[in-house]
C-alpha cells in the first residue's frame, strides 16, 4: 500500500453521527411496529381458524335466539293456561 492509499484510509476514516442520533432513531422506531414475517401456511391456518370460529359463533348465536323464542312461547302458553284454569274455577266452583 503506497502513501496515497494510506492518506485515503485516513481521510475516509469512519465518523460518528451527532450525539442525539440514537435517541432520535429510537424515538422514531418506537412509533412504528416491526413487521414480523409470517409463513404462508400459518397465515392460511389463522384465516381458517377465524372462519371456523366465526361459523361456530354464528351457530351458537342462532341457537340462543331459538331457545329464547321457545322459552317465550312456553311462558305465553303457561299464562294462558293459568287464565283458562282460573275461569273454569269461576264457572264450576
Amino acid at each position: 500500500m503506497d502513501w496515497l492509499e494510506d492518506e485515503l484510509k485516513e481521510a475516509l476514516r469512519r465518523k460518528e453521527p451527532s450525539p442525539d442520533f440514537e435517541a432520535r432513531v429510537t424515538a422514531a422506531a418506537g412509533r412504528r411496529r416491526p413487521v414480523i414475517a409470517m409463513p404462508p401456511w400459518l397465515a392460511a391456518a389463522a384465516a381458517l381458524l377465524v372462519i371456523t370460529g366465526a361459523g361456530a359463533g354464528y351457530r351458537y348465536h342462532q341457537g340462543q335466539v331459538a331457545k329464547e323464542q321457545v322459552m317465550l312461547a312456553m311462558r305465553l302458553a303457561g299464562s294462558k293456561l293459568n287464565r283458562v284454569q282460573a275461569q273454569m274455577k269461576v264457572v264450576r266452583p
Binding site: A11, E22, R32, V35, I36
Partner: protein, 173 residues
Amino acid sequence: MTELESVVQTGYDFAALMREHRAMVFSVAYHFLHDRDTAEEIAQDVFLSLHRNLGAIQSAAHAGFWLRKVAVQRSIDASRKRMRRPQVALEDVAEPVARGVPADPMLGETLRRLISTLPETPRMVMVLRYQEDLDPSEIANLMAIPVGTVKSHLQRSLALLREKLVRRGVREE
C-alpha cells in the same frame, strides 16, 4: 417497543445493532455525499428500515452486510435525487493555488473533496475500499457489479487522484 421486547420478538437487540453499526452507516453516506445533514437522514432511514425488517435478520454478520448494502443503495438514491450540485468530472476540477506542501489535515479534506467529484459508481467503490477496507470481490458483491469493473474504477480513480495531488506539489512521484 422496549429493548427487551425487541430481543424477545426478533432475537436481535436493535439498540445494540445501532450502537455497533451507526458509524459505518453514517460514514458511508457522509463520505459518498459530503453532506452531514443528508448523511444523518439516510442513516436514520437505514436503521428504521432495519427495525421494520428485524425478523428477516439471520445473524450478526448478516445484519452488518444488510446495513452496509442498504446504506450504499440509499446513498446512491439520494445522490441521484439531489441533483443540486452539477456533476463535474475529476479531470475538470480546478486546481487550487499551490502554496507549497499543504499540512496533512488539509490533504485529508482535499482528498474528500476530490472523491466527492467522482461519478457515483467509482465514488462508492473508493468509499467502500478505503473506509470499509473491503476487497474488490466484496465490493462487487455489495454493489452487484463485476469484480473487473471494481478493479478498473479503483485503478483509474487512484491514478486521477495521484495526478491531481502531484500536480499540486503534494508529493513527488
